[in-house]
């Protein structure tokens, strides 16, 4: 496959053809395929130089950029009077000064056969996040090694991450061969070293190329300096390797529905990007999670109807039958549908400065599905340098672990290894809206498949009707000593006099029984609230007006309980008492203990209280007595029908 006579000119087409027959040139370039790859290497492996070289050789650098480059090379370059290609790709002002790349940058170049999108990924450990981001869309990874240094810790880390993200094509670019006199045994020694490590982590196949980004050896044309090497040049390899979208075509049909297209009553189409397989009119399809089947009527595009569409295309599909299908559902081949489940084992890569909080509810976005999810404490964390499994209570920024997750609704999925589009997901913090983690689904946990929701004949409406009231959960939140229990008790007394069926769940009381196994760490506090939320929900299902009195310091968990209940049933009551006032009251003597250091994790002292931002009801206990507050609250919630 290596054309021994290839030169950069023949690889990239000559200016002559452009000048003489532009139409022939354009014709040739109209039918290129596209490959996305990442380059990983540590700070001085010559990564930016290699990318700069690829851009330079493919004429993706323009004259004025080149002039600026020559100028810059002399000013800040590290290559003396030579052109410093690295300056072409180190973009942001901050990193120019530091001389390192600090984020993922995307570069473009093209040969006659392919367009390439390169994710330029930084190598040092604190930026695992960026590398995982770049790897998520890549078909291939170029792992750079400095021939003078051989396989290093970061080589292992990069390879491991690429493997985790499902990259099948690995190129081991043994760079800076010019600095080891193009020595064959040095190259072979490194390759053997890498092979033994790679097989340990499940990389069975890779392509090793001896090269020099600086001198241009084996990049676009075979180097005379490495006559002993008869493999492909880097460009040869990149031009011929199979792209993922082509592989996905052979798999069963799946299309996550993005948008329902309804211009008028006569047209109802389902729009989405086909993630695998092919589809044609007449094909039987199944909509998931509902499981309803129908037949493809047409594939509608702007150019007209298609006879067939394949993985990688964005289309709009109409069906023969009016089946229920909307954004978040997945259209799939009727006889080989993907599974649905609500409990999974996953690999999580934590990407946020704030560490993971086991038990907290996050948003999970997978394809077009958005659900609420809770994450268990990791089964183990993986040391990305040694691949060792470590015990861990949480995951911090840039750490990777295996965790079980539970979603609040069934999710249509496939194992990440089989289908990135239905197995890769992100987690989003419900309060900050930041993307806090990337995840890969391994498999569904059996429990969810075997435990089904049992439908009962007496519905929650029937329970409520019998009591002649609308169920509510009055969620009292505030500092210790703010007056939550006292006011809740007064409210319950008033409702009782009005013949309302109520129940008061009090924090201290519940910790005597149901939650006596829980302490006061953040994780235990969250589990405490989750259980109370579930109990309150059951009681609301039974038709009761539930009053709860818990500090419940975190917005995320109050939101979690709110999301468990039908809209309008959760009433957040903020008992607003300033810390000084609550501390002065100190009914139970707890503030004194906390100040003395005898009581750890005490809200307001050494554990935070996040005030509600939009509580339905707010009572100020400095201005009101408990009785006045109770009357006010009852006024707000009546008539409870």
């Amino acid at each position: 496959m290596t054309d021994q006579t290839a030169t950069p000119e023949t690889v990239y087409e000559t200016d002559a053809l452009i000048a003489e027959d532009i139409d022939a040139y354009l014709d040739a370039h109209q039918n290129k395929t596209m490959l996305r790859f990442i380059t990983c290497g540590s700070v001085d492996d010559g990564k930016s130089t290699l990318i700069g070289r690829l851009l330079y050789d493919s004429k993706m650098i323009f004259e004025d950029q080149l002039a600026a480059l020559e100028d810059d090379s002399k000013k800040v370059g590290t290559q003396g009077q030579e052109i410093d290609f690295a300056l072409l790709v180190d973009g942001l002002a901050a990193e120019r000064e530091q001389g390192i790349t600090i984020d993922v940058a995307y570069r473009f170049f093209a040969t006659e056969k392919r367009k390439f999108i390169v994710a330029d990924c930084p190598g040092h450990e604190q930026y695992t996040r960026n590398m995982v981001t770049g790897a998520s869309t890549a078909d291939l990874a170029v792992i750079l090694i400095d021939a003078r240094k051989g396989v290093l810790v970061q080589t292992r880390r990069h390879s491991f991450l690429c493997k985790q993200l499902g990259i099948r094509n690995i190129v081991l670019a043994v760079n800076k061969m010019d600095l080891v006199d193009y020595d064959q045994s040095t190259f072979e020694h490194i390759v053997a070293d890498y092979r033994s490590f790679a097989s340990e982590i499940g990389i069975d196949d890779f392509t090793a190329i001896p090269m020099s980004g600086l001198a241009g050896d084996n990049i676009t044309s075979p180097s005379e300096a490495t006559a002993w090497y008869d493999g492909p040049t880097l460009i040869d390899h990149l031009e011929t390797v199979e792209v993922a979208s082509a592989i996905n075509v052979a798999k069963p049909f799946r299309m996550p529905v993005q948008w329902v297209n309804r211009p008028n009553l006569d047209f109802r189409g389902f729009s989405g990007l086909i993630s695998s397989g092919t589809i044609a009119p007449g094909d039987a399809v199944r909509s998931l999670p509902s499981g309803k089947t129908s037949t493809v009527k047409s594939i509608v595009t702007w150019e007209g109807e298609l006879e067939e569409a394949q993985a990688g295309q964005s289309v709009t599909v109409t069906l023969e039958d009016e089946i229920d299908c909307s954004r978040g559902d997945v259209l799939a081949a009727a006889d080989t549908p993907p599974e649905t489940s609500d409990q999974f084992e996953t690999t999580l890569v934590w990407m946020d400065d704030e560490e993971m909080t086991p038990g907290r509810a996050y948003w999970l976005k997978l394809g077009t599905q958005n659900v609420s999810v809770t994450v268990q404490a990791p089964k183990y964390e993986i040391n990305v340098n040694t691949m060792e499994h470590l015990a861990a209570k949480t995951l911090e920024l840039n750490s990777i672990g295996v965790c079980e997750i539970t979603t609040d609704k069934p999710v249509v999925f496939e194992a990440y290894g089989d289908n990135r589009a239905l197995g890769g997901f992100i987690l989003i913090d419900k309060i900050t809206n930041r993307t806090v983690a990337a995840g890969m689904l391994h498999f569904s946990l059996r429990r969810a498949q075997n435990v089904h929701w049992q439908a009962t004949d007496i519905t929650r409406e029937a329970h409520a009707n019998l009591k002649n009231q609308a169920p509510r959960v009055l969620w009292f939140t505030g500092l210790s000593g703010s007056g939550k229990s006292t006011i809740a008790n007064e409210v319950e007394k008033r409702l009782n006099l009005m013949n309302r069926h109520t129940f008061l769940l009090d924090g201290d009381n519940v910790r005597h029984g149901l939650n006596k196994d829980l302490g006061f760490t953040d994780t235990d506090r969250i589990e405490n609230i989750r259980r109370i939320g579930e109990v309150a929900k059951l009681m609301a299902d039974a038709g009761l007006v539930v009053l709860t009195a818990f500090i419940s310091p975190f917005r995320a968990e109050r939101r979690m309980v709110r999301d468990m209940l039908p809209e309008g049933e959760f009433i957040e009551v903020f008992v607003d008492t300033p810390l000084e006032v609550a501390e002065k009251r100190d009914v139970k003597g707890l503030y004194k203990k906390a100040r003395a250091g005898d009581l750890k994790n005490f809200t307001g002292i050494d554990s935070p209280y996040e005030e509600p931002e939009n509580a339905e009801i707010r009572v100020n206990t400095v201005e009101m007595t408990a009785e006045e507050a109770a009357t006010y609250i009852v006024d707000q919630i009546m008539p409870l029908r």
Partner: protein
């Protein structure tokens, strides 16, 4: 269905087909998840491609958002003509915003230099987004245009004051976009992020997309000004603002990029067809934004600085 071998061999998708599918996917995500999206329309070739993709993404419905032009009053006449027609053909509402303060103070590229861009474009855009309460705005920027763009996400978050923080971008994995945001925050969405200039031209040819005639070479009245070659699109206005009439010469010129006529340099050219244009682009090795003064006016890293201040 499981026996995939029964399917005829499918042809691998070309790079243009894959870029198109990705852009359409991005637009549909925004339509499904944003509360009030808008497409910023600058009337240039990238905008033309973006608008074409929007028509394809939602067909047979019209794109479910309006087009918005942040005007400076200094665009070429041919651009204004094309603007009205394109919106109408796409079945979309067209909103035009002009910064009233810039209008009142008569801000122009000759007397006010960088302030012209700041007032009309940067401030004008912020005003327009705030005025209508748009929470997502499509823009036609590409990552190959300029170095700091190469690192920007496809979904780029802006604070309530429209600032961009390159150190605090959300990681963007697979094709999953996190569109959640706090009240007042907004997203700039760049569906053409992964397109190069050559891709754009190839797509315009393949799809037969109409572009402003100024991209094609023709005899036009030109003048030299501060070392650049410009076209006298509105000679009367030019004379009024300069206080004299520059010497006009008929030259065969075209534009690589379109902005305000006194800021957009023309190039002498005979390229009168799309193939000619692409040929010229591939042979001349001057990058696209050179014709526009904006990148250079405050030295190195100036686009990055502008973006932090809220420029698109």
């Amino acid at each position: 269905m499981t026996d995939t071998s029964s399917f005829p061999m499918t042809k691998p998708l070309t790079h243009l087909e894959r870029l198109e599918a990705e852009s359409i996917h991005i637009m549909r995500e925004v339509a499904a998840e944003a509360q009030k999206p808008v497409m910023l329309y600058s009337i240039g070739k990238d905008s033309a491609v973006m608008l074409h993709l929007a028509k394809k993404a939602f067909h047979p419905s019209p794109p479910p958002f309006p087009l918005m032009h942040v005007d400076t009053t200094w665009k070429f006449k041919a651009m204004y003509e094309m603007r009205e027609r394109s919106a109408e053909e796409a079945g979309m509402d067209l909103l035009v915003h002009r910064n009233p303060e810039a209008e009142e103070r008569g801000i122009n590229p000759f007397d006010h230099g960088p302030l012209h861009t700041d007032m009309w474009k940067t401030q004008g855009l912020k005003q327009a987004l705030d005025k209508y309460g748009f929470d997502a705005a499509f823009g036609g920027a590409r990552r190959d245009e300029e170095k700091s763009r190469a690192k920007e996400r496809i979904f780029s978050f802006r604070t309530a004051s429209h600032g961009w923080d390159p150190k605090n971008q959300r990681p963007e994995l697979w094709n999953i976009y996190n569109t959640r945001k706090a009240k007042g925050e907004s997203i700039r969405v760049f569906p053409l992020s992964n397109w190069t200039e050559l891709d754009i031209w190839q797509y315009i040819m393949a799809e037969n997309i109409e572009i402003v005639p100024l991209y094609y070479s023709a005899k036009r009245p030109t003048y030299d000004y501060e070392g650049g070659l410009f076209m006298a699109d509105d000679p009367e206005r030019l004379e009024k603002i300069l206080g004299y009439m520059p010497e006009l010469t008929e030259r065969s010129v075209r534009f690589r990029t379109l902005g305000c006529f006194p800021l957009t340099g023309a190039v002498e050219s005979e390229a009168a067809t799309l193939s000619d244009i692409v040929q010229e682009m591939l042979l001349t090795t001057t990058s696209e934004r050179q014709g526009r003064v904006i990148d250079k006016d405050s030295g190195d890293g100036s686009m990055e600085k502008k973006k932090q201040e809220g420029y698109f």
